[in-house]
C-alpha cells in the first residue's frame, strides 16, 4: 500500500511586489508604484483607525483620516529609513493623525458644549446590546473586546490581512497575532453563548 502525502509549496508566496521595491520606485517618481504600495498598505492602517473610531463615526471621519495618512506618507516617504518596516511606519502615521483628529474634535466639542459628546459616551456597545437581535449581540460582543483583540479582528476580517501583514503593521510577532485572534474568538464565543442562554 502506498503512503500518500499532499504537500504545499509552503509559506514562500509573496503576495505582491515587495514593499522595498515599490518604495524604491515610488521615490524615483513612479506614481503607479506609489499608488500600488498605498493600496496594499493602507487597509491595515485604515483597519487600525476603524478599530479606534466608534461605529457611528466611521464614515467621513475614517475617509478623512485615511486620506490624511496617505498624503503625509507620500510627503515623507523619502524619510522612511527601512522599507521593510514601511507598513508599521504607515500605521504609526495613521495613529498620529487619529490622535490629532481626536484632540481637534475634543476642542471643538468643549467650545460648542453640545450634547453630542454626552450621547457618544453613553451609547456604549453593551448598553446598545440589551434586547437587540443577534447581529447587534455580535456587534456588542466585539465592542466589549479589549482594543488589542478588536484591532486584530478588524485587520483580519475587515482589512483581509494575513497574519504576517497584521504583525508587520502592529510591530508584533505573527504568533502574537495568532494568540490574540484565538483569545478574541474565545471571548466572542463565550459572550454569544451567554446571550443565547
Amino acid at each position: 500500500m502506498t503512503d500518500n502525502i499532499t504537500a504545499d509549496p509552503g509559506e514562500t508566496d509573496i503576495d505582491e511586489t515587495p514593499d522595498h521595491d515599490l518604495i524604491r520606485r515610488a521615490r524615483a517618481g513612479d506614481r503607479d508604484a506609489l499608488a500600488h504600495w498605498l493600496r496594499l498598505a493602507l487597509p491595515a492602517a485604515a483597519g487600525l483607525v476603524a478599530t479606534r473610531l466608534p461605529g457611528h463615526r466611521r464614515g467621513d471621519e475614517l475617509d478623512d483620516i485615511v486620506q490624511e495618512t496617505a498624503l503625509r506618507a507620500v510627503g515623507s516617504i523619502d524619510r522612511l529609513r527601512h522599507a521593510g518596516q514601511a507598513r508599521s511606519w504607515l500605521c504609526g502615521i495613521a495613529l498620529n493623525v487619529l490622535e490629532e483628529h481626536r484632540r481637534r474634535e475634543a476642542r471643538r466639542r468643549n467650545v460648542m458644549q453640545t450634547d453630542t459628546d454626552h450621547i457618544e459616551r453613553t451609547e456604549a456597545p453593551a448598553a446598545a446590546a440589551e434586547g437587540a437581535r443577534a447581529i447587534d449581540a455580535l456587534q456588542a460582543a466585539i465592542g466589549e473586546l479589549p482594543e488589542a483583540h478588536r484591532e486584530v479582528l478588524t485587520m483580519k476580517y475587515a482589512a483581509g490581512l494575513r497574519y504576517r501583514d497584521i504583525a508587520e503593521a502592529l510591530g508584533i510577532a505573527p504568533d502574537t497575532v495568532k494568540a490574540r485572534l484565538t483569545e478574541a474568538r474565545r471571548r466572542l464565543r463565550t459572550r454569544l453563548e451567554e446571550n443565547d442562554e
Partner: protein, 631 residues
C-alpha cells in the same frame, strides 16, 4: 494537544494560515477526538459569521484606502539625497556581521543532521510548481445557484450564520434531486455567476511501478468535479488514470449523524443526563432516538444537548474536499502532472475613474481615465504565485453553472492558446496587464505571478490615459427623468483620442477638481464591453440647470386604428453658457411617422424620436411635433 492549542490550530486552518503539516495534525486529531469536531464546527460558524459581519466594513475600508491611495499618489514625491558610501556601510556592518554568524551556525547545524533521513522517506510527495488562474467576467444568469453536492455543508454553515443574524429571508436553501443524487440549490447573493479556470502544475515524486493513489486537498471548494482533468507532462503514455474520485463527504456533524441512522448513539444533555438509543432521525432542531428493545421513541431538542457520542468515526469522511486518483505507471520516479478544473465564485470586474478637467468648451472636455481590475476570489482556495489571466467578455453558458462538459471547446481546445499566451513577456517582471485578442474575448495576462488569496479582492491598474477628449451633451429623456436633463459625456474609443483599446465592462466613477483643487466625486455610470472604434456614452449626473417638460397638446382620431398626437417639448437652459442638448422623445413603437415638426429629427430606433440643438445661455426652446400612429 490542550484546548488552547486546538483552538489556535483551528483558527489558523480557518484563516488559511496553517501549514500542510498543521492541517494534517488537525485532521488526525479530529479523527481521534470526535467530540472536538463540535468545537471545530462552532468555530467555523463563528468564522463565517464574523466574515459576514465585517463585510460592509471591509468594503468601506477598501473604498477609503483606494480613494486615498489614488489621490495621494497624484501628489508629487519630494526626494532628498540619501546617505551612501562609507557612513552607510558603517551603519550596515553590525547587521551584516550578525547575519554571517547566523548563516555559519545554520550551515553547521544542517551538516550535523542525519544524511539518510530524506532518503528513507519513500512516500509519494506532491509539490506545487505553478498555477495559472483564468478568471471570467461574471455572467448574468438570473438567480445563481451552487449545485455542488458538498454545498450542503457550506449552506448549513451560512444559513446558520444568517439565522443567528435574524435574517430569515436568506434561508431559501431548497434541496432537489438531479441525476439521482441529492443536491442543494442554494441561491447566493449576487445575480451573476463568476468562475475561473485553474491550471495547477505539480511535481509528484516517488511514484512506484504499478498502482498509486494520489490525493490533492488544496483545490477550490467550489470545484466543478465534471471539469477535472489530470494528465502527465513528463510521459503521457506512461500515465493511466484508473479511477478518479472527488471526495466531498465532509466530516461535519450532520454527515456523521447521517452515517449513524439506525445505529446506537448516546446523547449527553446539559444536565449530564445520558440518553441512549438508535438514531431514528435528526434535523437541525431535534434528534429522535428509538429504544431497540421496547420500540419507544423520544425526540430531544438539540438545544438541550451538550454532546453526542458515537462509537467510532465512520470511514471515508474527509475534513476538506479532496480529489483522489488511482493511477498506473510503468516507470517509477517523478512525474510532472497538470491538473485543470473549473471552479465557481471567482470573478473580476473593471473599474474606471475619470477625472474631468474643468472646461467651458462643450465639444472639448478632457478626461484622465484610469482603469483598475478588481478580482475577487471566494472559491475556497488560495492560489500562491499564480499566473493570472482575465477573460473579458460574457461567456455563453447554456446549462446550469456546474454541468459543463470537460470538453467545452473554449476551455478544452483553447488551452493550448492560453499556454501560448503565457510565454514570457518583455516586461514580465512588472505587474502590468498585457492585452490580446482571444477567440471572441479579450485576454489580459498579468506580467508577473501574484498570490490570489481566498476571500480576497485584488486590485491592479490596467489602463491609464490622460487628456482623453469628450463631447458634453445634456440628454433629456422623459422616460428616465421627466424634468431634468442628464449631463452626458460622449467619448470616442479611438487611438487618436488616446484610447483605442477594448474596454471591459465596469463602473466608471467621475471626479472633478473644485476651486480649491480638491477632487470631488461627481457621478457614476457603467459601461458595457466596448470595442475599439465605438463611442462610450457616459452619464455623469442629472443637471438641475438644464430642465425640460413635455405636454400633449392634441389628439385626433384620423381613421379606424389611426390617430394623430401632437406634443410640445420645452427645454430651458439656466446656465451662463450655451449647451448642446439632445432630446430623446419616446415614440409609441410599431407603425408611426412624424407628420409635422418644428425642428429636424432623427429616429435612432423604433421607440425614439431624437432632436439635437444648441441652446444659448438662459434661453428656452420649444419644439412641437405631430406623430401619426397606426395599430
Amino acid at each position: 494537544m490542550n484546548r488552547h492549542e486546538l483552538e489556535t490550530l483551528i483558527g489558523a486552518v480557518l484563516d488559511e494560515e496553517a501549514t500542510p503539516e498543521e492541517r494534517k495534525r488537525l485532521e488526525a486529531h479530529l479523527a481521534e477526538h470526535p467530540d472536538d469536531r463540535r468545537l471545530f464546527e462552532r468555530l467555523e460558524r463563528q468564522h463565517l459569521l464574523l466574515t459576514d459581519h465585517f463585510d460592509e466594513e471591509a468594503n468601506r475600508l477598501r473604498r477609503a484606502s483606494s480613494a486615498a491611495a489614488e489621490r495621494a499618489a497624484a501628489t508629487p514625491v519630494v526626494t532628498h539625497p540619501r546617505v551612501t558610501g562609507w557612513p552607510r556601510l558603517r551603519r550596515l556592518l553590525p547587521p551584516l556581521a550578525a547575519a554571517a554568524v547566523l548563516l555559519a551556525l545554520l550551515v553547521l547545524a544542517l551538516n550535523e543532521g542525519p544524511p539518510e533521513a530524506a532518503a528513507e522517506d519513500r512516500s509519494i510527495s506532491v509539490t506545487r510548481e505553478d498555477f495559472t488562474v483564468t478568471v471570467f467576467n461574471p455572467i448574468a444568469q438570473g438567480e445563481r445557484y451552487l449545485f455542488m453536492p458538498f454545498a450542503w455543508t457550506i449552506s448549513d454553515a451560512v444559513d446558520d450564520a444568517y439565522r443567528r443574524a435574524g435574517d430569515v429571508r436568506r434561508l431559501r436553501a431548497v434541496s432537489r434531486s438531479r441525476r439521482g443524487e441529492s443536491y442543494i440549490r442554494y441561491p447566493v447573493r449576487s445575480g451573476k455567476q463568476g468562475m475561473a479556470f485553474v491550471r495547477d502544475r505539480r511535481l509528484v515524486e516517488h511514484l512506484k511501478k504499478g498502482r498509486n493513489t494520489l490525493r490533492f486537498t488544496d483545490v477550490a471548494a467550489t470545484i466543478d468535479p465534471t471539469s477535472v482533468r489530470l494528465h502527465s507532462d513528463t510521459d503521457p503514455n506512461d500515465f493511466a488514470i484508473v479511477e478518479q474520485n472527488f471526495e466531498f463527504d465532509l466530516a461535519s456533524a450532520e454527515a456523521l449523524l447521517t452515517k449513524y441512522i439506525d445505529r446506537p448513539i448516546a446523547c449527553v444533555t446539559r444536565d449530564d443526563d445520558t440518553l441512549e438509543g438508535e438514531l431514528a432521525s435528526f434535523d437541525p432542531g431535534s434528534i429522535t432516538l428509538i429504544d431497540p428493545e421496547t420500540g419507544r421513541t423520544q425526540t430531544i431538542n438539540r438545544a438541550r444537548l451538550r454532546t453526542i457520542r458515537l462509537e467510532e468515526l465512520p470511514e471515508n469522511l474527509v475534513t476538506r474536499p479532496t480529489l483522489v486518483w488511482e493511477i498506473d505507471v510503468e516507470t517509477p520516479g517523478p512525474q510532472r502532472l497538470t491538473l485543470s478544473y473549473l471552479c465557481g465564485d471567482a470573478e473580476w470586474l473593471a473599474d474606471y475613474t475619470a477625472l474631468i478637467h474643468p472646461s467651458n468648451d462643450e465639444n472639448d472636455v478632457r478626461l484622465d481615465l484610469t482603469g483598475w481590475v478588481s478580482m475577487t476570489n471566494r472559491s475556497g482556495a488560495t492560489f500562491p504565485n499564480a499566473n493570472l489571466k482575465l477573460i473579458a467578455g460574457d461567456v455563453h453558458r447554456v446549462r446550469d453553472p456546474w454541468a459543463i462538459s470537460p470538453k467545452t471547446p473554449m476551455l478544452g481546445y483553447g488551452k493550448k492558446k492560453l499556454e501560448a499566451n503565457a510565454a514570457p513577456q518583455p516586461d514580465a517582471a512588472r505587474k502590468v496587464f498585457t492585452e490580446k485578442r482571444f477567440f471572441e474575448y479579450h485576454l489580459y495576462t498579468l506580467g508577473a505571478p501574484s498570490t490570489i488569496g481566498n476571500r480576497q479582492t485584488k486590485q491592479i491598474g490596467f489602463r491609464h490615459a490622460e487628456g482623453v477628449r469628450a463631447r458634453r451633451m445634456y440628454v433629456y429623456d422623459p422616460r428616465l427623468d421627466a424634468h431634468r436633463a442628464r449631463m452626458t459625456l460622449f467619448v470616442e474609443n479611438e487611438k487618436d483620442n488616446r484610447l483605442g483599446k477594448p474596454m471591459p465592462k465596469g463602473a466608471v466613477r467621475f471626479t472633478m477638481a473644485d476651486a480649491d483643487g480638491d477632487a470631488l466625486f461627481v457621478g457614476e455610470d457603467k459601461i458595457d464591453h466596448t470595442p475599439e472604434g465605438e463611442e462610450l456614452e457616459l452619464t455623469v449626473s442629472p443637471s438641475w440647470q438644464v430642465v425640460g417638460e413635455r405636454t400633449r397638446t392634441g389628439h385626433r382620431r384620423v381613421a379606424r386604428r389611426v390617430a394623430d398626437e401632437t406634443w410640445r417639448l420645452t427645454i430651458r437652459n439656466h446656465k451662463d453658457r450655451a449647451v448642446n442638448v439632445r432630446c430623446n422623445e419616446p415614440a409609441p413603437g410599431g407603425d408611426w411617422e412624424v407628420t409635422r415638426s418644428t425642428d429636424a429629427h432623427t429616429a435612432p430606433d423604433v421607440t425614439t424620436i431624437r432632436f439635437e440643438f444648441t441652446l444659448d445661455a438662459h434661453a428656452q426652446k420649444t419644439i412641437e411635433y405631430t406623430i401619426r400612429r397606426r395599430w
